[in-house]
Subunit: 264 residues, 2 copies
């Protein structure tokens, strides 16, 4: 048993969907969330810069005595996790493995689509991981750079969101995918629009729940679940704008805890 908190890191507010899933699956656990809102987005940056920023953020969380860290950001999971896995002496979980596992479990024909930021798609990490686990998997990856700003602007059901989704997802038509991985924390908020475009026969994979389940499994294996405490939840960000709370509520779907700002 361990009452140390869990660290959740994201480039911004998108990872709050992961935090919500973790709180639901593990209601006794305390959580320290760090969103690098001053330097968001990561999805347009180079691998080197993503790695540098991620390392700085994980070091902050490790310094808070967390017992495990979830990297909720896909771009950071893609470019930083493999290098940082052995640098921090505690379990590090990314969203990619969780998403890949869920997709392979759900897909019948192993024709799988992946959508994400330019950084995530260019890394090719989803395709590599899917093929490593199932060499018959046929993967189509598509970058959808306008999805993040659309979500941040709150145009979740706007006709423009539908048109943009149609444009980006056109290459999937006729390819016969039966599963689509939402490879960015922002995309689950566009679920309705994306589902309408790809059709009801395609299963959408949101890795928030999968990563929460993976975390639960690790904590059980390592005999580290919390117990007998009143859990706390701390939101930490590197920049706080007037729109932050509105955005946070959109992602968290509940009351937003007090927010602390730190400066790197």
């Amino acid at each position: 048993m361990s009452n140390q908190p869990i660290g959740i890191f994201d480039s911004g507010v998108g990872g709050l969907t992961v935090m919500a899933a973790v709180r639901k699956a593990l209601p006794n656990e305390s959580i320290i969330y760090l969103g690098d809102t001053a330097r968001v987005p990561y999805g347009t940056k180079s691998a080197e810069t993503i790695l540098r920023y991620t390392e700085e953020c994980l070091a902050f969380l490790a310094g808070k005595n967390v017992k495990a860290i979830v990297i909720a950001c896909n771009s950071a999971s893609a470019h930083a996790l493999p290098y940082l896995q052995h640098k921090f002496h505690l379990p590090l979980l990314g969203v990619i493995e969780a998403g890949v596992e869920a997709a392979l479990r759900v897909s019948r024909n192993k024709k799988i689509g992946v959508i994400g930021t330019a950084a995530t798609i260019n890394s090719d990490v989803y395709a590599k991981e899917l093929k490593r686990r199932d060499e018959t998997a046929a993967v189509t990856g598509l970058a959808c750079p306008l999805f993040v700003p659309l979500v941040e602007e709150g145009w979740l059901d706007h006709p423009v969101a539908f048109e943009i989704a149609q444009h980006y997802l056109k290459p999937l038509a006729g390819g016969g995918i039966d599963t689509l991985i939402l490879g960015c924390t922002h995309y689950p908020l566009l679920k309705n629009v994306i589902q309408k475009v790809v059709g009801d026969d395609v299963d959408l994979i949101d890795s928030a729940e999968s990563v929460a389940a993976a975390l639960q499994k690790i904590l059980t294996e390592k005999k580290m679940p919390a117990g007998g405490q009143k859990p706390f939840c701390q939101l930490t960000v590197t920049d706080q704008t007037p729109s932050f709370e509105k955005l946070a509520r959109r992602f968290l779907g509940e009351e937003v805890p007090a927010v602390k700002r730190i400066v790197f």
Copy 2:
């Protein structure tokens, strides 16, 4: 006469439109451009963070022995210029004053619209500066957060760009403005779409040329123009992605000089 270079600072690549205007107006001047591409965009950040990042970037340029600095970024001009004006002992020019001057010169009815990022519009700096110079000015400011990602995605004439512009600019209809300030370096690339939405009777103000003219005036006054040298042009960025050169060419409209990356 001074052959010291001119510094141009922007949060990213958008300021290259200003660099192009400066090169055209002052072909003998050497230029060192700094784009803070690792931390772009500034327009969604808080005033405090914008100020901190801008100060760091200007200190870099000042260390390169520049004779004047142009802050091409509207968000940085709005939130940082007033505080940094006396901190650096060399002329600092922002784009806001230049845009305001041009708008008041062009407008007949002094009903003026301003579009920009959330940070720029929330600062209210354009309205304040317009009214300070002409108290009869009636100003309508509108934030257009999706314009920057649209430009970076290259959807300059896409039907979606037109729809988004229609949505954002709707509050201007019937207001009788005759002048619209493009208060963000990215927006001139959407000129066609914006002009179509607001109609041909509205003059669009792009501050790149105005700020180049203001720079020329200051250099003449201070007897500091360059002469008798072969000017150089150096591009410096804080992050370099695969898409950088493509984007740079879009903004610069000509061959992109060699790019140097620095790390803060």
